[in-house]
Each structure stands twice: as structure tokens, then as C-alpha cells.
Amino acid sequence: MENTARITGKRTATAWKKPVSYNLQKKTRPTEAIIQAFLLFCGVVSILTTLGIVLELGKEAWLFFGDPEISVISFLTGTEWQPKIGKFGVLPLLNSTLITSVIAIVVALPLGIATAMFLSEYASPKMRSILKPILEVLAGVPTVVYGYFALTFMTPLLRGIFGSQNVDVYNMASAGLVMGIMILPLISSMSEDALSAVPRSLREAAYGLGATRLETALQVVLPAALSGIIAAFIIGVSRAVGETMIVAIAAGSGPNFTFNPFNAAETMTGYIARISGGDLSYNTPDYNSIFAIGLLLFLVTFGLNILSRAISRRFREVYE
């Protein structure tokens, strides 16, 4: 204030002669620096999380494979999972994970794409405003509720259709089908985003050439949005592989190397949930085995996620 007054108010000769020196250096602001450091730390937490997952899972899995009777090769190729007698072959668990995931994808992918197609190409804005929230609710239902639905609705339904002597009370088909319903909104919303991103001009050009709505949708819009749809497919697979509660409730407990979807068989996630649900003492093969399986699960899903991202970035059709 004093300075301003001296400059603007009293323009005396002395003031002109002796100009006040200003410090034009950037002011150091310790609070700003502290805040920035804290915010950087917040950002780094996510990296720490990933590192934590890799290190902790890796460490315990290392202990697991450090057991002289277990080798990585016998773990990955063994067809028997019986910790009691020291047989740790992950194939039965992997196999049932694959079967439930394949069933889920077979349900969710066509339904999801068709729903996305309807929402983006056919539905009126009013219809969209009704259908989108319904899909969001379907996506927001907790997985344990889907598990309940599988056990009390889907399983009796399957047993009614195929005969209760053919279908176990706990079976992979029921879990897989309900998992498909669970993934459906994910795939449909991602595919719809991809379809909506295709510019209008492409559609109009196709109509102008006399194409029907279906031909435009299938031969013009769908190929243009393919990268997004493939990304949705991969994310769907990753979600199905990592899904726990539905399989823990409806697919049965107990590893079982079978290709019949109507049989009970435990998946990787189901095994982790069952083993850690009981009283688990540290540093036992059981305890370490869930880390080995968890690491496998993490690597598979993390890899799928990266793949999905890479595909949607690499093969995206860029317009304009």
C-alpha cells in the first residue's frame, strides 16, 4: 500500500529519484509445495496398489512354488487339485473357470451387441431414456444377489428342463448363464458407446445408396465400431474370469475336472473364496495356494485389460 501511494499519490522529485526496488523473484510458497507433494502421493497410491498386488501375490506364490513337491509346470499342467495329498494341478479349476466364462460370453455377447444395436440404431430417444436406466440397474445389482438368483431360479429351471438326474444341484451351466446376464449390461453399454461414436455421415451415405437400416447397421456401422466391440468383448471375458460370488454360490465347491456343464465344479475364484472363508492359518500350502491362484487370476485379467485397451486404441477408425 505504501509503495502504491508513493508512486501514484505523491509524485515528488525524491520519489522519482529513488525508485523503490521490487523483488521480482518468484515467491516461495511452502504450502503450495506441500499440497502438491500430497496430491502426487495420492496419484502414486494407485501405482503402489499395483506394486503391492504384484509383490505380495508374487512373494506368497514364490513360497508356494518354493515347496520342493510343487513345480510351476506341475501346477500348470496337473489335472488333480487335492491339497490334502499334495496334488496341486490347477487345470480342474482353470477348466471350470473357462467353461463358466465361455457360457457367460455366449449368452452376453450376442445379446449385448443386439441390445446395443437396438439402442443406438433403432430406439427412439424416449425408449432409450427408459431402457438405459434399466440396464444400469441390472449392472448395479451386487453379484451376491446374482448368485442367489442362479441358485433359486436358474438351477431349478435347468433341472426342470433337462431333468434333475442330469443336472446337479450345483452346476456350471447355471452359474455361467447368470454370469452372462450380469455381463450383458457391460457389453451392451460399451458396444453402444462404440456404435454411437460412428459419425452420422456414414449412415446417411449408406441410406443414400439405398441400403436398408439393417444393411447400414451391419455392413457400415458395425465394421466401423468393431474395435470398440472387441474391446467390450475382452473386458467381458476378464469380468467373467474374475467373477467370484456367482460361481461360489451356484457352481459347487470341490475341484472337478469335467467338461459337462451340468456337473458341479469349482472355479479358481470359487476356490479362493471357499479356502479363505474358513479359519486359515498362515504359511500353510492352502494359504499360499490362494496367492498362486490369485496371481494367475491377476495376470490373466490384467493382461486382458491391457489387450482390450491396446486394441481399441490401435484399431480405432479415426474420422475427420
Binding site: 442367489y148 451391419l218 491377476f298
Partner: protein, 418 residues
């Protein structure tokens, strides 16, 4: 169409017919596909309806209740009309001395409230047991048959219509009999868990979002790494977070999470605190991504104006960017929380107990949560547990729906203001 076509000669007639047929087929196919798309979309609606109907169907219906002791032999008036002395008298007469002594450990029976005594008489002496239960639809359609069956099979039993989701279900804690079990401790456990999750995840998540949007240059390698990493973490299965929580919070940080560091007599690290922190890690990526979007939507002109007036970076963020982004951030947070409330798998791994009859006492107590209770009841073979699982699911869904409604309201209010 026909009038537009030019005049044709006989030799071309066939070709034109073929063309018309071709066009007709194309249109037919288009119409067919449209109805197929419509039907599949309808299927999603049907799935949701089937899910809700299944839950509601299981959550109420006729039950056949058999009492171990007929209440009319205890007193000629209904229990609720009796006073404390009479109720205590009944308890003393019908229970073994040891049991009465255990009950009186906290104080004389007469000194307890009338409703507690009525409850005691019911659980200790009358011991009602549901011997048969029906779903809602059979109860509505075959009412007379159910009553006739019950009368012939269980002559002493009473048939009543029961809403499994009722007042006592909300206020009772877990019990081994499904008729008496409730979700009180599970609800409280879920609440405390979510509180810890919010308190940790919200500041860190918003902080990370601010850093990535306002401070980080998008070119630097570490910032790109953080961004990619967050996007990928959002897709990691929840059970993997559970395993991380088990290794990190339950085991490695046990002195902290069991409360031993703070002088609390904690037995192990399987506490609400561990579960809350695990859940915080789980929802962080979702929270960050949502918060980033909200911050990005604040127009740049606001920032420029603030800088132009000489504000520092943090002053700009705190006074101008954050208030503008807050509704969006809150909406994203609510959605992340509604994810956390329904998550079950990480809680199983971190070690939620399924049989907790007392309320959780704080961050260092062992706990149960609503989804854990649902899982536990679902996997039990007795049919009555399926009914209370359905009731608990209704509680969970109602909580989730109200959270989502809050998020939508917030979003709409925000949309109006801008």
C-alpha cells in the same frame, strides 16, 4: 414405387420381378432383424424382472409355525398384556434355574423392559419353529390347499402369512434359528465399513484426480504410467483386492489394524478397519476416474480468470475448480460407494465372520456385513434361510436404489445450474 418405374418391355419383365423380389426380401430381412433386436433388448428387461420377482417371491408367504409350548398354557391373557412381574414369574417357572441365573447376570428379570421380557419368553419357552414355508405365489394361488395340508400334517401348528422383511428382522442380530435371525449387526457392520472406506478413499481419490488433471503434464512418463495404471486397476477382479488386503492389512499391518498399536485388545487383523481399507483400494480407481471427469468438465476460463487475478494454483483449485466439480465428484463417489456396499468377495477373503451376534464396537472389532450375511444364508440348506436371504437382499437393494436415486438427483440439480 411402381409408378416411378419407367415403362418396360416384356423381355425385361422377369428381371424386374426378380429385382422386386430381391428388394422385398431385403426389406423383410430388415424388419425381421429389427424385431429380433427389439426382443433381445426386451430380454434384458425380462431378466431384471425375473430377478426381482424371484427375490420378492421368496421374501414373503405362508409359514406353518409350531410352538414348543402353547402360549395359552402359560397365561390366559396375551403375552403383550402381561406386566413385568407376571412375565418374570413365567420365566422362573418354566426355565431351569441355571438358565434363569445366566439371564439375571445383568440384573433382575423384573427390571428389564416389558418388550425384552416378552421376547425372552418367546425365544426361551415358546420357541416357535417354522416347520413349513411357502413362497408368495403358491401362497396366493393355493391358499386353501396349504391350510388343509398344514392342518393334516401339523395339527398343533398355526398357519400365518409372514413378511420375512419386518421390524424384528431389522432389529435382531444373527441367530441360529432363521425365524429369529436379523440383519442388525450386519447393517451396522456395513455402515462402519463404508464410513472407513469413504474417509480413506475420498480424499485420496479426489487428490489423485486433482493431481492428474491440474498438476501433471500429460507428456511426462510417470503421469502417463499413473493414468494407464488406474484404468487397468479398475478392471482387476475384486477378489484379488481381497487377497491383497489379506496379505497387507490383515497380516503385515496387523499391529495397526488389530488396534494393538493403540492399546486396544485386538485378537487379530480381521477387523472392520482392514476390510474398510481393502474396500477403499477397490473403489479408488472408479472414484478417481469419475472425479477426473468432473474436474475436466469445469471450463478453463474459470481457471484463467482466477490466475489473472493473481491467485496461486492451489487457491484456484480450492476456490474455483473444486466447487464447480463437486456435484460431479459426489455423484461419482456415491456410485463407487454403492459398488462397495454390494461387494462380497473381498470381505470373505479379508475374513468377515458370519456368525456375529453383537453389534460391532468400532474399527477394531470383528464384523459381518450385509452381503456376507446374504452369502451365508444363501448357502445354507434349510429353506427358511433362503427366505431371510431374500429379505436381506431386499434391504440391500433398497439401500442401493436410494443411493442411486440420490446420485441421479444430484446430477440433475447440477445439470440445471450450469
Amino acid at each position: 414405387m411402381n409408378q416411378m418405374e419407367p415403362k418396360t418391355f416384356g423381355s425385361n419383365q422377369e428381371m424386374q420381378d426378380a429385382e422386386k423380389n430381391f428388394l422385398h426380401r431385403r426389406h423383410q430381412r430388415a424388419r425381421l432383424a429389427q424385431s429380433v433386436f427389439q426382443l433381445t433388448t426386451l430380454l434384458a428387461v425380462i431378466f431384471l424382472a425375473a430377478l426381482l420377482v424371484t427375490v420378492v417371491n421368496k421374501s414373503m408367504g405362508y409359514v406353518v409355525v409350531e410352538n414348543k409350548v402353547d402360549p395359552s398354557t402359560l397365561s390366559d391373557r396375551p403375552l403383550s398384556e402381561l406386566n413385568n412381574t407376571e412375565l418374570a414369574q413365567i420365566l422362573r417357572e418354566n426355565l431351569r434355574k441355571n438358565r434363569v441365573r445366566t439371564l439375571e447376570r445383568a440384573g433382575f428379570l423384573e427390571d428389564q423392559s416389558q418388550s425384552t421380557l416378552v421376547q425372552l419368553v418367546e425365544t426361551e419357552i415358546i420357541q416357535p419353529e417354522v416347520v413349513e414355508s411357502y413362497n408368495l405365489f403358491p401362497s396366493l394361488i393355493k391358499r386353501s390347499k396349504i391350510k388343509a395340508d398344514a392342518a393334516s400334517t401339523y395339527p398343533n401348528a398355526k398357519v400365518e402369512f409372514r413378511y420375512w422383511l419386518n421390524g424384528t428382522f431389522l432389529t435382531n442380530s444373527m441367530a441360529s434359528q432363521p425365524e429369529l435371525a436379523g440383519v442388525r449387526s450386519a447393517l451396522l457392520g456395513s455402515l462402519q465399513l463404508i464410513l472407513i472406506t469413504i474417509l480413506t478413499a475420498f480424499p485420496i481419490g479426489v487428490g489423485a484426480a486433482i493431481y492428474l488433471e491440474e498438476y501433471a503434464s500429460h507428456k511426462s512418463r510417470i503421469n502417463r504410467l499413473i493414468q494407464t495404471n488406474i484404468d487397468n486397476l479398475a478392471g482387476v477382479p475384486s477378489i484379488v483386492y481381497g487377497i491383497l488386503g489379506l496379505a497387507l492389512f490383515v497380516r503385515a499391518l496387523q499391529p495397526f489394524t488389530s488396534g494393538a498399536l493403540f492399546g486396544v485388545d485386538g485378537q487379530n487383523g480381521r477387523t472392520i478397519l482392514s476390510a474398510g481399507l481393502t474396500m477403499a483400494l477397490l473403489i479408488l480407481p472408479i472414484l478417481i476416474i469419475n472425479a477426473q471427469e468432473a474436474i475436466r468438465s469445469v471450463p478453463d476460463s474459470l481457471r484463467q480468470a482466477s490466475y489473472g487475478l493473481g491467485a496461486t494454483r492451489w487457491q484456484t483449485i480450492w476456490h474455483h475448480v473444486l466447487p464447480g466439480a463437486m456435484p460431479g465428484i459426489l455423484t461419482g463417489t456415491i456410485l463407487a460407494i454403492s459398488r462397495a456396499i454390494g461387494e462380497t468377495a473381498p470381505l470373505i477373503v479379508v475374513g468377515a465372520s458370519t456368525f456375529i451376534t453383537s453389534d460391532p464396537t468400532g474399527p477394531f472389532s470383528s464384523f459381518t456385513a450385509l452381503p456376507i450375511q446374504i452369502y451365508n444364508w444363501t448357502t445354507r440348506p434349510q429353506p427358511a434361510f433362503q427366505h431371510i436371504a431374500a429379505a436381506a437382499i431386499l434391504v440391500l437393494l433398497i439401500a442401493l436404489l436410494s443411493l442411486n436415486a440420490a446420485a441421479i438427483l444430484l446430477r440433475n440439480r447440477f445439470a440445471k445450474r450450469v
